[in-house]
């Protein structure tokens, strides 16, 4: 992570006074590799963070470097591992259940009018409802254990996955379905060879939104229900004014969430829609 600002400095320095060959090298590299722009984008973010921390904009706002050091300390003393061990359990469990049940129900609603009539109103209401307000109710019923936290994840992730899967199936190209029928494809072939692959971009968009909502769910649970895991790290370090450590915990969960979503995109383009890789 800390390598990035160095790269940016290098880039600025090069464009000012270095011989043209270096500028050209960077330019060709920038044109060929999209990752260059990702690095630049992150570098700009981290440098502005560092500058904002040094001004400082608030006594409770640490610099980027302080945060990285704090992160290193928390990894070294094992508190980060313990926190993630606790946070990831309800998160993974909740997301896996939401993905399986959500895609199943959503696809069923897309394929059958009866399933749509039965289920669509429920999920439309659930999606509109401010779920954060219901999290304390879950605690009231299920206590402060793993069940309550998993339920919080599912409550936030499931409706968006269901509704997107349903829309994905409803917007499948009817011409492709006709094509499958005209070659005497069975209903199962139609679903697995045409409908699901054609729906997969929207299906995955729903999954991405659902997983992002799942992260919100688990953080809400840990901040509102039971101070454990990353939520506890954040609350604890805030209460003792260890702002660098608090920010490190926040930034780490953002990073984990981002990497998870990037990984999901990789799975989509490599398994289901290979043609999107070549663009």
């Amino acid at each position: 992570m800390s390598v990035s600002p160095a790269k940016l400095d290098n880039g600025i320095g090069a464009s000012k006074e270095a011989p043209p060959t270096v500028v050209e090298m960077i330019r060709t590299f920038a044109e060929e590799r999209r990752s260059f722009w990702i690095v630049v984008s992150l570098a700009v973010l981290f440098v502005s963070w560092e500058v904002a921390g040094r001004i400082p904009i608030s006594f409770a706002f640490p610099t980027f470097i302080e945060t990285v050091v704090a992160f290193g300390e928390m990894v070294a003393d094992g508190s980060m591992h313990k926190a993630y061990f606790l946070t990831l359990q309800p998160l993974v469990l909740g997301v896996v259940i939401s993905a399986a049940v959500g895609i199943g129900l959503g696809v069923a609603m897309g394929l059958s009018d009866k399933a749509e009539w039965l289920l669509a109103p429920v999920f439309i209401v659930l999606q509109a409802a401010p779920m954060a307000a219901l999290v304390p109710l879950v605690t009231f019923v299920y206590g402060i254990g793993l069940t309550a936290k998993t339920l919080a994840v599912i409550m936030l992730a499931l409706p968006v996955i269901v509704l997107n899967s349903y829309k994905a199936v409803r917007h499948v190209n009817p011409s492709l379905v006709d094509m499958c029928r005209s070659f005497q494809g069975s209903r199962m072939q139609q679903i697995f060879k045409i409908i699901i692959p054609d729906a997969s971009p929207v299906l995955f968009a729903g999954l991405r939104l659902g997983i992002a909502a799942g992260f919100i769910g688990v953080m809400l649970a840990e901040l509102l229900i039971t101070p454990t895991g990353i939520g506890d790290l954040i609350t604890y370090h805030r209460s003792v004014a260890n702002y660098a450590h608090m920010y490190a915990a926040v930034a780490s969960i953002i990073a984990v969430s981002t990497l998870t979503l990037a990984g999901l995109q990789y799975v989509e383009t490599h398994l289901l829609r290979p043609e999107k890789r070549r663009k």
Binding site: S175, L176, D178, R181, F183, K193, D198, R273, E275
Partner: protein
């Protein structure tokens, strides 16, 4: 090489000149209150290319989809090889106006898809697919995806897919309407070559009079609202001549004119 359309009565392949592979009996189709087709009776001869021609709204695509079994008729029946059909069957293959290619599959998989659905083993399926890919002039593009091809090339994939399942009857729904004019002419010539090579029955839907006269053994003119058969024309074009000579031939131009006279009352 090319079959002379003039020599049709002396066809050796078919036992009688009335060897109808597809029979359309009293087909009516209503969409709610709208009457799309009324009392259609037609026979399509084996080994011939028959065109359904008419202005938009005459139900030509609907009729083709009813023959394909993709759309149910309100009343009447379709017989293919003498048997009444109610849905799609292996003796018919459809070529779609919008190509209907799977964007996530390569040309090779798209062409072999009809065989894949039938459970043909991969090696055999690929062999057949490669043969037809070559026949439609796409050799070398087997591993490309549809978005990497031009409109004309995509429709060649659609045609190869229909050929690959070895159906008796090929149903083509305005296959060249999304292809530009230059490619369209080339396409029509290629289609005639494939008709000659494959000895199959073709039912072709188009709204282009020139295209219909150029490729067809028989043209069925439909009139709109509701769709009915208004005229049946056998162009009798001598296809042994070069394509450019055919397009300048007086007989060809006369037929085009005759059809235009029949259709102009429906033009706005």
């Amino acid at each position: 090489m090319a079959n002379s359309a003039l020599a049709r009565s002396g066809s050796v392949k078919s036992a009688t000149s009335n060897d109808a592979v597809v029979q359309v009996r009293d087909i009516c189709k209503n969409y709610g209150d709208v009457e799309a087709l009324r009392g259609i009776n037609l026979e399509f001869e084996r080994g011939k290319l028959t065109t359904l021609l008419g202005p938009s709204g005459c139900g030509k695509t609907t009729l083709l989809k009813i023959i394909a079994g993709l759309v149910p008729a309100t009343s009447g029946e379709i017989r293919v090889n003498g048997r009444v059909v109610t849905g799609p069957g292996p003796e018919r293959a459809f070529v779609f106006q919008d190509f209907a290619l799977m964007p996530w599959a390569t040309v090779l998989r798209n062409v072999g898809f009809g065989l894949e659905l039938k459970g043909v083993p991969a090696a055999e399926r690929d062999r057949t697919a490669r043969r037809y890919i070559e026949q439609v002039g796409l050799a070398g593009f087997e591993q490309k995806y549809p978005h990497e091809l031009s409109g004309g090339m995509r429709q060649r994939v659609g045609i190869a897919r229909a050929f690959a399942v070895n159906a008796d009857v090929l149903l083509l729904d305005e296959p060249f309407s999304a292809v530009d004019e230059q490619n369209r002419r080339k396409f029509q010539e290629d289609l005639l070559r494939l008709v000659d090579l494959e000895k199959k029955t073709f039912i072709f839907v188009t709204h282009s009079i020139e295209e219909a006269v150029y490729v067809s053994d028989r043209i069925i003119l439909l009139s709109p609202r509701p769709g009915r058969v208004s005229q049946i024309i056998d162009p009798m074009i001598d296809r042994s001549a070069s394509p450019d000579d055919i397009r300048r031939d007086a007989g060809y131009l006369d037929v085009v004119e005759e059809i235009w006279q029949g259709l102009r009352q429906y033009a706005e």
